[in-house]
Subunit: 464 residues, 2 copies
């Protein structure tokens, strides 16, 4: 747990010093993604796209611009986005015949095409995805990767013949996103159905994935929307069923934010030494540091490292050798800050003993292994597992229940707080002045934290 | 060789019926990329990015918008692009303080950051790349994948301490692009240095890669620009050399167009049956067609196919089984049109003989193989090699030399024509009214095709 200011300082330093993003690009809210950032996102993207494609999603790419008439076709949707879209109005010095928005999300540009692709029930389901940027002119304080104006994500979009299939798809996507977040990125998550006032513009309801940042605020890292028939009605996505009757399709859309997932991965696992990257997404999984104080030792050490390299290659490990001029201590410091999960040290004594020294970033634990016993793949998967467990434990420790306002006040800002709400507007207001209502569990009774009347359980947190 | 109209009809039908792109998106020049198109581009992108990163390029992502003052900083550059950039002018209903262009290429948004990253000679070289779309409001007739207003590409950008290193980098990129085009996509290419009047705005010179389309026109599929110190001067990319002297960096930039590479791959290898995809980039490398006329045969055939599947899986082949209700002939037709390199047929007689029937898409050749001898990986690499050779042969047959205007007229529109030019403006005009001068070879003498005076060799073609 870090305070807001301490975390913010740490976070910005990590992004900068580890070449994740550079915020000096002269457009507010649009940083430059550098090597480390792009690589981690690439691993996420490939992992997610594979899962989606195994589930039958087709990859696709839709244009970045949406003509105004399409964006405005669904009333709730345009009302939700009209204040924050960027408009393209000119080409060269010539005004365009009609303005086009930079996509804030792609429902309205995709679904007219869905209508063209859908004739009979055999054309359904449609399940597509694309990894692209979307654009939202955030008026709130921007923060790199967390609240940007250019947002990297993957968006999935579907059309089904029945409501049941759409609901099934939502369950599948829940599993896929959970796998991405917990298996690959070791992030502990909660899945919450948002209150009605917080749903996606044009959706029946929205399910959100959140994790918890070190300063006690939750970060929404993905959403799934049940669109019902709102958009299929507007865009006329109709199919002929087996009896020749015309019916409207049922739709869902969803997306995790790659920038936010990156921010969460860096923040949730980080410590006072810097980043700690889960091995599965670490651009460098292992760094080899030669320890050479006397020049006469160099040849021996480097030739032994050559053998280590062969092993790492055969185990398909992403590794680097830091043979630079810095002192070993400076190298350790640098690679620890960059979050490299495993360090291999080789000095003259190690060569003598025919082993290497292994130092885990997650625990700091030091062990040795002979070349015969060097199973880096196994060590990395142990680290991956341990990091997942460590993060889960921290997350669970910061889940609270508050029976009264005093307790609610105490724990808000530390984590996610379960409490009660009578479902009356006048009690929602004071709660939402303290934090955000993440979800309302109508099946679970609880006394309202404000007025004490019978109510239902809600989850509240301070949020990004 | 097809005539222009015949090719155009064939090309559009392939894109549509094989779900490569859908041109019905309601913004001119911006089609929707569908499954087959996105997958082929993904294979290209991954292959290219790997080669670039092996050469030390870091992946990166720069914002899609470029503030007007940056875009306009280099005079030749803005003059070259100002008529065709899209301008973002508003967010919501509020005019932006300064207009921003959708990137037409990223020199002017990247190089101010290069200046921040460069202090001393140890900060160089900078070599980065990104796979993104760029935006150009083409006023010429648009054509899907070939002349679009949203262009998918990979762009590489560098800064070096010396001109020699920049020149070396150009040679490396020539090799990498050649590998992408000829090894992966089996495309025959020519590399030509463009005449001065045709270089990239702001470059010292431009090298272009072109291939030849079935209608006899060349298609430019990639370029490399030697930027000299034009941009480093404007954006102040300075480094301190080993002696403490301030010096300007030397720069290059380059990019192949993924859309055009896709267009070329489809067109160069296609035949009257449809697409023929090089195995390395075929989304489906092998289709298995069960031949079942009697229901009683089904179980036997499908269980044998199960064994074939195991083999394909172990050989990491991208395959599909077409067990649908259509007749085998209809299936053959469909998969041949989609360009699947190899078809495996299994009927009751094949099961009896314990073999499968193999049909190559490139030659139509039919062979059989027992399960023990089924090496699909080897067959696919033979097909890849044969397609490369077939295409190269066709390309070479369509390379001409013209000594007089009559011959030039005859061969223009069939392929690339070498001829002579006296280097005078008044003779360039009539030549360029017939075709485009791709390159000027000052080292090779040739008589001017117009006036007959001593001159140098040029290459001319009709171009896209």
């Amino acid at each position: 747990m870090m305070d807001e200011e301490g975390f913010s300082e740490w976070y910005h330093r990590m992004l900068d010093e580890n070449q994740v993003v550079d915020i000096r690009f002269p457009v507010k809210g649009m940083p430059v993604y550098r090597g480390a950032g792009v690589k981690i996102i690439k691993y996420m993207r490939d992992y997610l796209e594979n899962l989606l494609e195994e589930d039958g999603h087709e990859p696709t790419y839709f244009p970045v611009v949406i003509p105004e008439d399409l964006l405005a076709a669904e009333a709730e949707h345009i009302a939700g986005f009209e204040d924050e879209v960027y408009w393209v109005t000119h080409s060269g010095i010539t005004p365009l015949e009609r303005r086009m928005a930079l996509r804030p999300t792609s429902e309205t540009c995709m679904y007219p095409m869905f209508a063209l692709w859908t004739r009979t029930h055999t054309d359904l389901p449609i399940k597509i995805h694309q990894s692209v940027c979307v654009y939202r002119y955030e008026t709130k304080h921007t923060r790199p990767l967390i609240r940007s104006r250019e947002i990297m994500w993957n968006e999935g979009h579907t059309a089904f013949a029945t409501r049941e299939e759409a609901l099934e798809n939502i369950e599948t996507i829940k599993k896929i996103y959970t796998k991405l977040m917990t298996e690959l990125l070791c992030l502990p998550i909660e899945i919450n159905q948002r209150p009605d006032w917080d749903k996606f513009p044009g959706a029946e309801y929205t399910i959100a994935f959140e994790t918890l940042m070190p300063d006690g605020k939750t970060l929404q890292i993905g959403t799934i929307h049940n669109l019902g028939q709102h958009f299929s009605k507007v865009f006329n996505i109709q199919y002929e069923d087996a009896n020749g009757e015309k019916k409207l399709a049922w739709q869902t859309s969803y997306g995790p934010g790659f920038g936010r997932l990156l921010a969460a991965t860096i923040s949730v696992h980080g410590d006072e030494k810097g980043m700690r990257l889960p091995p599965a997404v670490a651009p460098t999984q292992t760094v080899i540091v030669p320890i050479v104080f006397k020049e006469t030792d160099r040849e021996n050490v480097m030739s032994f490292i050559g053998k280590v390299e062969e092993i790492l290659k055969s185990q398909r490990i992403r590794y680097t050798i830091d043979a630079g001029d810095e002192r070993p201590g400076a190298k350790y410091y640098k690679w620890e800050q960059r979050g490299v999960p495993l360090r291999i040290e080789v000095g003259p004594k190690d060569v003598e003993k025919k082993h290497v020294m292994l130092v885990r970033r997650d625990t700091g634990e030091k062990t040795t292994a002979t070349l015969e016993n060097l199973d880096v793949g196994k060590m990395l998967s142990d680290i991956q597992k341990n990091m997942r467990e460590q993060a889960k434990k921290k997350f669970e420790e910061r889940t609270y229940t508050a029976k009264d306002e005093k307790n609610l006040d105490k724990h808000l800002g530390e984590g996610i707080v379960a409490t009660g709400w009578c479902m009356e507007d006048q009690c929602a207001k004071p709660i939402e002045s303290k934090g955000t209502i993440l979800s309302i569990n109508r099946d679970k009774k609880a006394k309202c934290v404000i007025c004490g009347a019978e109510g239902v359980e809600i989850k509240v947190a301070k949020t990004y």
